[in-house]
Each structure stands twice: as C-alpha cells, then as structure tokens.
Symmetry: C2
Subunit: 115 residues, 2 copies
DNA sequence: CTGATACATTGACAGATATCAATATGACGA
DNA sequence: TCGTCATATTGATATCTGTCAATGTATCAG
C-alpha cells in the first residue's frame, strides 16, 4: 500500500533520520523537511492545525468560523497540511473530518534534536 | 537586560506556552510561531541551519561553498534565522561566527507536543 | 593612508503563495 | 429526480520571498 520511498521522513509510520544537531541535511532531505515545516509556517494554517491537534476530530465546517477565511481557503489549507502528512482526512457523509497524524509530528520533533 | 515581552516564546531563555495538542493557538501566538517555523521552511536556509547546528561555530565564509549561493543570499538567510532567534552571530575581527540557540530549538520542539 | 577582505544593505526581478469569486463534484433528503 | 448542503477545484490577483548584481561598511595588513 505504501509506495517504496527513500525519503527522510518516509511514511508516517517510519522513524526519521538523524536530528540536525548530529549532521547537516542533504539537499534532498532539506527539501522534504522544509516542505513539511513550510506547511506549518502560515499563521492561519498553523492555527488550523492547532485546532485539529487539540481535538480528536474536526469537521471542515467547523473551521471557517474560527479562522475567518472563505471555504476555498480552508479547503486549500487542509490540503496543504494533508499533503505534508500532518493531518488525515476522512469523508463521512457530506462532512470531511480531519485529525492529526501524531507520528508525523513526532518525526518533526525528533528532527529538531528530539530525545 | 531582556525587554518586557508578552510573546509566546519570548526570549530564548523563557519557556513557551502549551503545546498545540493542548489548546489552539491564538492569532497572535500563531503569527509568531509561524514566523519561526517559516525561518526553517526554506531548503537552503534549513540546510544552513543544520550545518551550524552540527558544529559549535560556523563562519559565514564557510557557508557559501556548501550552499552554492551568493554572499548576499547567505547573509540574507543568516539574518532571517537570527531574527527568528534560532541562531546567534558574533563578529570577531572580519569574520562572523554563527551558533545555534539550543533553547530556541527546544521551545519549538515543545510546541510540537514535546515532552 | 591604501588596498584587500568579509560581511551587510539596496534594488530589481522571477517565482511562489494566500486569498476569494465562480464553478464543479458528490451526498443526502424530499 | 430535484434541490440543498458540504467540500473540492479553477482562475485571477495582490503580496511575499529567494536570488543576484551593485554598492556600502568595517576590519586588517602593509
């Protein structure tokens, strides 16, 4: 199911490479990790992520209000976060339910010199 | 010495607020944290940071080569990282020596739901 | 003082991106 | 089937940003 990958972080299940205090990142690794951090580098998107992270599941319809952004913008941000592997979406009926991928967050934390 | 600040992360010495798994960030907090993560969201800059982080001190003159960027670009990136509080620069003679601010990195790690 | 070296700043420009209006897709209820 | 609701996609636009050439500033050697 998971396609073969030589990426640093790989699938959310796999553990990542050495933290940045150990060795400099390769160009390829830096590209991938920067992409993930970039997904969290927008204020609105970071707040969206924190809303999802502070709950079990959040419906898209419950994000427009707190974030004060249009529906397409919310959809755009959830897509960016999902593409980065930071959140996971599940469609149930007409609603889209989002939840964080804890393993992914743990990976990023470890890259930052985590324990 | 440290100016009064109501920011989330505050000075590199102060500990930060609750991790994002506990509560959603305020607009103000998200703005600041996103700025810090944004400093790490560029591949070249992230690699620069990892080079500095994997050593005690790094001279600006030792970054142009590995990163394959012009001197002004390197200077720009170091400034962005320094403004984010992630690295600290010290001029000695004609050379600028950069080192990471470990407390800052630890703060970011804690915001990511760290232990 | 003069020239050279290391870094910072400025200005310009191409590419990325956050945003919304309009539209499309898909699911449910009547 | 029809209309409504929730979300995704497309297209357009204003803003942000990474990059380099040119220039400015500070330090050291002679």
């Amino acid at each position: 199911m998971t396609p073969p990958s030589t990426s640093v972080l790989g699938s959310p299940e796999s553990l990542c490479c050495a933290p940045l205090t150990d060795a400099a990142f390769s160009e390829r690794d830096a590209e991938e990790i920067a992409g993930i951090l970039g997904a969290l580098s927008d204020p609105v998107r970071l707040r969206l992520f924190s809303i999802v992270a502070s709950q079990d599941e959040v419906c898209s319809c419950h994000l427009e209000g707190p974030l004060a952004r249009s529906q397409p913008t919310i959809s755009h941000h959830t897509k960016v976060l999902a593409d980065a592997g930071l959140i996971h979406g599940e469609k149930r009926g007409r609603w889209m339910w989002w939840s964080v991928v804890p393993e992914r967050v743990a990976q990023v934390r470890q890259l930052l010199g985590g324990t």
